[in-house]
């Protein structure tokens, strides 16, 4: 399309020219467009406000001074009625000066002269003056959730028709300290209600939506009055319709600490919706251990009441494999939902007594320890236990019972030698045990062989009576003096020049015979 003879850079010139042309056209067309579209609704011309603070000095001299006011007020009790806090000068309306709204002669000291032409309520006599500044008043005040009749009132005033409501009905003290914008002085709802009733406007008083713009969109299920029970503040609420009874701290906390603003969404009645779990163990179902009456106290009570468990933890960390609700040793119903890592928060390990004999060859525990058996377990603790569960709690102590170092022939009454007061007493742990039990753990010894015992066991009428040579059960040493008194043997051997023979008999008499 670009003519062949035109250089390529002419394209840049064309583009620039277009931009310049567009700007030039806009400079012409924009004012033209505005001229062809004049404002349809003319802006009303308002009179300027008659700012008269400098002319209100005498008003302030009297009405800001209780003494001056008391001196001129008739009757005297009206002093409080006409006294004005000087602090009201700090508010937007107060700073306008008295005669701006009330007229009169504010720089005249004489009371009668000063009050001539006084207007008590500007919004009653010249309501349009209020509109000098407040023509565009909001119908709704979102931050206060209020619906107002501002539009109707302002339009009525603007058109010069009476609407029966004055600005001062709601904003009466606006020049004397009340500041409806900053909200420093809150107008309670009871003021509105009184006014409505006095004006016979009470037909709508039962409908909160007459004045209030509720922030919640729950009208399908709730009325305002289901929760809000006071007229002085929104925060006075009832829990009567709450689907779950609230107790403890929950009964006093703000609704939206738990519920989502503004429509109460996003809560499943789970503690973790609001509370952050401060510990790593357990799960988010806090109510398993805690109650709203006291998080710490309720958990402490559980810990204090928890029983110890009688087995070691190592190798058995998965508590619920045995103690699930349907497990071997089932836990109480109220423990349902608790996790393995919470068990030892309450329950301490208190392992059962260890097994003091080898388990090998003695694996049938109940043969000895079962109900009615020779070493019966403690019934109150072990009731219902079966063979398989013994080793869950009881571990082998690693003790190997001493073997009986003699034969049992003729020695069936163990306690005759091994009772606590006998010459070879059993250990204190055997206290109370009877002869029946000894051979359950201790293995009876066989008679030593000739290789083990080169000295003849039938030596001269001993007839295998070991204790004759090994008194006190000491089989590491021998003792010939039971039959061969040392004194006599020493005389006989001394006569032959053999001295120091004590405990040396077998050196010369290995077969118990004369050398």
């Amino acid at each position: 399309m670009l003519p062949q003879r035109w250089p390529k850079w002419s394209l840049i010139v064309i583009a620039f020219a277009l931009v310049v042309a567009v700007i030039g056209a806009a400079l012409v067309l924009a004012p033209l467009g505005e001229a062809l579209a004049p404002t349809v609704v003319p802006t009303p011309t308002l009179p300027t406000i008659n700012y008269a603070r400098p002319l209100s000095g005498e008003c302030e001299n009297c009405h800001f001074d209780r003494e001056a006011l008391a001196a001129s007020a008739q009757p005297a009790e009206d002093t409080d009625v006409f006294y004005i806090d000087p602090g009201s000068l700090e508010t937007p309306h107060g700073s306008l000066g008295c005669i701006t709204c009330h007229e009169g002669t504010g720089n005249e000291a004489d009371k009668e002269v000063a009050h001539q032409g006084l207007i008590d309520d500007l919004s009653e006599t010249h309501p349009e003056d209020c509109l000098l500044c407040h023509r565009d008043l909001p119908d709704q005040i979102p931050e206060d959730h209020l619906r107002t009749p501002h539009g109707e009132i302002v339009d009525a005033v603007w058109e010069g028709s009476a609407c029966g409501v004055l600005c001062s009905d709601c904003h009466g003290e606006v020049g004397h300290g009340f500041d409806p914008v900053t909200g420093e002085i809150i107008c309670p709802m009871s003021v509105c209600l009184d006014c409505h009733i006095n004006r016979n406007l009470d037909t709508h008083l039962t409908d909160c939506n007459t004045c209030h713009v509720g922030p919640h969109d729950v009208s399908q299920s709730l009325n305002c009055k289901d929760c809000h029970i006071g007229t002085d503040t929104w925060r006075e609420t009832s829990l009567a319709v709450h689907p779950v009874e609230l107790t403890g701290y929950h009964a006093t906390t703000d609704c939206f600490s738990c519920h989502g603003w503004p429509n109460f969404k996003g809560l499943d009645y789970v503690c973790s919706d609001c509370h952050e779990r401060p510990h790593d163990f357990g799960n988010d179902d806090c109510a398993l251990c805690h109650t709203p009456e006291g998080w710490t106290e309720s958990a402490d009570a559980l810990v204090a009441g928890a029983s110890p468990f009688p087995h070691p933890v190592a190798g058995q960390e998965d508590c619920r494999s045995c103690h699930g609700v349907a497990g071997q040793q089932s836990i109480p119903e109220d423990h349902k939902g608790r996790t393995n890592d919470t068990c030892q928060i309450c329950h301490e390990a208190a392992p059962a007594p260890a097994i003091l004999h080898p388990v090998a060859d003695h694996s049938a525990c109940l043969d000895c320890h079962g109900e009615g058996q020779i070493v019966q377990f403690t019934l109150s603790v072990h009731a219902g236990r079966d063979e398989a569960s013994c080793s869950t709690c009881h571990a082998e102590a690693g003790v190997v019972p001493l073997a009986i170092q003699h034969t049992m022939d003729g020695r069936a009454d163990c306690l005759s030698c091994h009772a606590a007061d006998a010459f070879k007493p059993f250990p204190a742990s055997h206290e109370g045990w009877t002869n029946d039990l000894c051979l359950l753990c201790h293995e009876a010894g066989a008679a030593p062989t000739e290789a083990d015992h080169p000295f003849p066991q039938d030596h001269n009428r001993t007839e295998g009576n070991c204790v004759l040579c090994h008194p006190a059960g000491d089989f590491e040493a021998y003792h010939c003096e039971t039959c061969h008194a040392l004194e006599g043997m020493s005389q006989i051997h001394g006569a032959r020049g053999i001295e120091q023979i004590e405990n040396k008999c077998v050196l010369c008499h290995p077969d118990g015979k004369a050398p």
Partner: protein, 318 residues
């Protein structure tokens, strides 16, 4: 009554800043995507690169002309560079960096398109500058960031003044406190840049380019649609927020600015180009005149949009 501090000089700056940034980004898109390399002569790249630097420089000059105290006491302008908490300082730095980069890119592109220019002075250019051609792609990438900054800055500038003029500080949505103006100005910058360099310049120079870049009408429709949505949101948000912002929106839609808005922006700049590009998608190509008129309409609307936003800015009621 709208604000009186900013007038046509600022409007034209906002327009040229956006147009220049958008033109650069369009040229860069052709460059970086390889579209430029496919043809011997790419009018979009040539126009975009050569327009962007001068347009932004001219706009910045107008901005200086608009200065009050700074014009009388120019030494005070140094503060513009050192007041780092001010969005204006950010903008000054962006402009000062973007303009030379864009001019350099334009020069490189012009030399490529018109070799005789190279013969005129290239031999006298220092070696270091001659070597810059090897860094052309990197220059374009850096320029892209600065171009986006320039386009967004025009919106940031106006929204930074927003608290005193509520229309300018409207959020994207009433519940999303992100300023609307930077996004709207960025989209508008892309649209006007594309309109000038592709719809207009490329159609004039090589009408067959529409056959080669078939996705362009669709891209333009997306941009126009997005701009449409943002303008609609701006007006709705302003109306719903009440006060001066709502009055600004009313002035635009059915006040004294309504003809400029409905004709200059909506009809010429949004509806017409939208229809034309939609037709082009259906027909598979643009006609010579549909391309040119759509491009002109988009550029015109870009200027009027900024004019409306500036003059309809009513100061907040105290």
């Amino acid at each position: 009554m709208g604000q009186t501090a900013w007038g046509w000089l600022v409007v034209i700056y906002l327009f040229l800043g956006g147009l220049g940034a958008g033109a650069f980004l369009t040229a860069a898109a052709f460059e970086l995507s390889g579209l430029r390399a496919r043809c011997e002569f790419c009018p979009t790249t040539l126009t975009g690169s050569c327009i962007s630097g001068p347009a932004v420089a001219l706009g910045s000059a107008l901005l200086i002309l608009d200065l009050g105290a700074g014009k009388a006491e120019p030494w005070r302008m140094v503060y513009l560079f050192t007041h780092f908490s001010s969005p204006m300082t950010w903008g000054i730095w962006i402009l000062c960096l973007f303009i030379p980069v864009a001019l350099l890119y334009g020069l490189l592109e012009l030399i490529d398109a018109e070799p005789f220019i190279k013969g005129l002075f290239w031999a006298r250019v220092p070696k270091v500058l001659q070597n810059l051609k090897a860094y052309r792609r990197r220059i374009v990438i850096v320029g892209c960031f600065l171009a986006v900054g320039t386009a967004v800055y025009t919106g940031v500038l106006i929204s930074a003044a927003g608290p005193s003029v509520p229309l300018w500080s409207q959020p994207i949505l009433p519940f999303l406190p992100v300023p609307m103006m930077p996004l709207l100005f960025l989209v508008s910058a892309l649209s006007t840049g594309l309109g000038l360099t592709f719809d207009l310049a490329a159609t004039i120079a090589r009408p067959e380019i529409h056959e080669e870049v078939r996705a362009m009408p669709l891209i333009h429709i997306v941009l126009i649609g997005l701009e449409n949505i943002l303008i609609g949101l701006l007006l709705i948000t302003a109306l719903s927020s009440g006060g001066a912002a709502a009055d600004s929106a009313r002035e635009i839609m059915y006040g004294p600015l309504r003809i400029i808005f409905w004709v200059g922006v909506v009809l010429i700049g949004l509806v017409f180009p939208f229809v034309v590009h939609a037709y082009a998608i259906g027909a598979g190509r643009h006609s010579l005149w549909s391309g040119i008129v759509a491009g002109v309409g988009i550029v015109v609307a870009g200027l009027f949009l900024r004019y409306l936003i500036v003059v309809a800015g009513i100061p907040a009621y105290l």
